[in-house]
Symmetry: C2
Amino acid sequence: MKIAVPREKEIGEMRVALVPDIVSRLTKKGFQVLVETGAGEAAHFHDQNYIDAGAEIITDTKQLWQEADILVKVAPPGEFDGEAEINSLRPGSILISFLDPLRNPENILKIAQRQITAFSMELIPRTSRAQSMDALSSQANIAGHKATLLAAAHLPRMFPMMTTAAGTIPPAKVLVLGAGVAGLQAIATARRLGAVVEAFDIRPTVKEEVQSVGAKFIDIPLQEETNAGGGYAKEVSNNTQEVIRQVLTEHIKKADVVITTAQVQGKKAPLLVTEDMIAQMKRGSVIVDLAAEQGGNCAHTEAGKDVQYHGVTIIGPVNLPASLPIDSSQMYSKNLQTLVQYLVKDGEIELNFDDDIIDSACVTHAGEIRNSRIKDLLPSQESSVISY
Amino acid sequence: MKIAVPREKEIGEMRVALVPDIVSRLTKKGFQVLVETGAGEAAHFHDQNYIDAGAEIITDTKQLWQEADILVKVAPPGEFDGEAEINSLRPGSILISFLDPLRNPENILKIAQRQITAFSMELIPRTSRAQSMDALSSQANIAGHKATLLAAAHLPRMFPMMTTAAGTIPPAKVLVLGAGVAGLQAIATARRLGAVVEAFDIRPTVKEEVQSVGAKFIDIPLQEETNAGGGYAKEVSNNTQEVIRQVLTEHIKKADVVITTAQVQGKKAPLLVTEDMIAQMKRGSVIVDLAAEQGGNCAHTEAGKDVQYHGVTIIGPVNLPASLPIDSSQMYSKNLQTLVQYLVKDGEIELNFDDDIIDSACVTHAGEIRNSRIKDLLPSQESSVISY
């Protein structure tokens, strides 16, 4: 069975789907691994490393896609030089990648129409059984860590308390909004660097996790259900959002750094930090908005830019995991390896749709979109027409 | 007695000589403090903060310099709009600043000719009595901390070990060359972030300090004296340098990050990492060369630039303390406050040249250059001519 690893062509995507170490494990299990020349370069893995791991280097992009039984990717397949990448993939083959299905349902439709069986890594369920395939979590870990490093690199003061002959420098105050995987890792890194950290999440259930990584949890009693399950928060009413903002304003005023990570799956990110709240912050403070690509948690956030407002720097990073491509590729590869070995039994692909992992992550099969939330986003006539 | 705080006009200098907190302490001691409008802006201290601390805001730059009994500065006085700043300073007044005297002896000559009593903060002796005035150390602390943050922000992998469902990411390997104040702080921050750290210094006496901040000391037996005293290393023979490079090559090969901090006072920095050694490093590795402004410890270092060579990023930062202006100004202010209060007894300036602190730091007085090392750098006829 042939697993193909293409070179990522998306601008700024430095990751590679499989690192040599994982290729080596897969070839030892009997898989044939094809790697497009230069696929690992941006992540500092070289063709020779892949050859040493037992892979075959393919220079012709189309050939690589055509030969794949399973094609593994990082970014959703796109169009380059006027040609859609998936048109080079054989009907009946398997595609495993981040597919951003809720924001890009048309792409999923095209994949279905091409008769490709596609797995969306975003839809791996957040269960303990699927933990080792959970790429959203593995990449969020990295994003959270880097968010704090970005804040530390931009803040005009240090994070740690320092007691020196020239007096004592107090520790920086960091506020993390949203305590999912990224938020918890942002807290952990800020604590490592010696900051005093507070955190808030609308799911009161995460209080203990927040405390266990060394932050103070901000308790705000709310009158509605806020947990959507699976590690996600529910969208809450405007009234509740207003209550939250009022309490947070007092904490934001005192913070040197605010890191926001609040996302509602498939929807625009909630606005947590308003223009008015930013204006009350200390000058020189830094906001890192990890929801920048989903519309942002802060007023004035611009994805891919550092914005100055009222003396506050608002950083809207894009694809942070790609900025640590060695580790993010390593972890993503491990997620893919586990999923591939889960799908393939004795050299044959087994698709048991009664299995919740497969049922949840497999978005297209046999010409159909399998996920009703994705279908609902498409005009009804389109999603039912299966052409090939 | 009037202490004047000018706005720093050097490009990239974000620090201010006195922060409002220290101004407040000085005004309470009976000093009159004059602050040039906007002097603290780049460090996020505002005119109103200075007014609240008891300072008077002066809008006319020349007036500020002329009124000063003691003028405190960060960067050496320079020439702006065709006029030398020191020409606005009254003969007989006191100037306290970094003066970079060994690299810029002509400037010291001009200050002497202007009959100004100048204290060079670089020349505060590194004794325990003078510790709280030691601005080189206070600023080196900050530079060392930031050097590690820069490395972490540029490295394509994380510093901490991470054990996750997607496998274990090993910690980054950091090598620090030169274990003075900056080097020790770079080690401490790298350890905080979870890296495995090794360090080397040609002064074997610092081994214990290196170990106490959590790094492994690389022992290289050397055949000559390497300690110049006062926290400085001596310049060593080419032969010894070659021995060191041979041992270090093996350690550099394995490192993800190399931070170099080796300086020899008043001389070009020693070359520790050659082109050949860089070429043997792992691709994606990062070097931060804190000696960039003194010519660099690495081949290919360029002050103020990030250079790519053989897949290695070589960062040559300039004036790192200025990138954390809140804390660096705070610590520098404290150093200045201590020195000012040391010089002024009952409202009068007392210059006791039998005191080693005053003797060492005071570079010009009564029209003369007091320091023989600075004098030796000037053509002999010039340094003896005192004109005013």
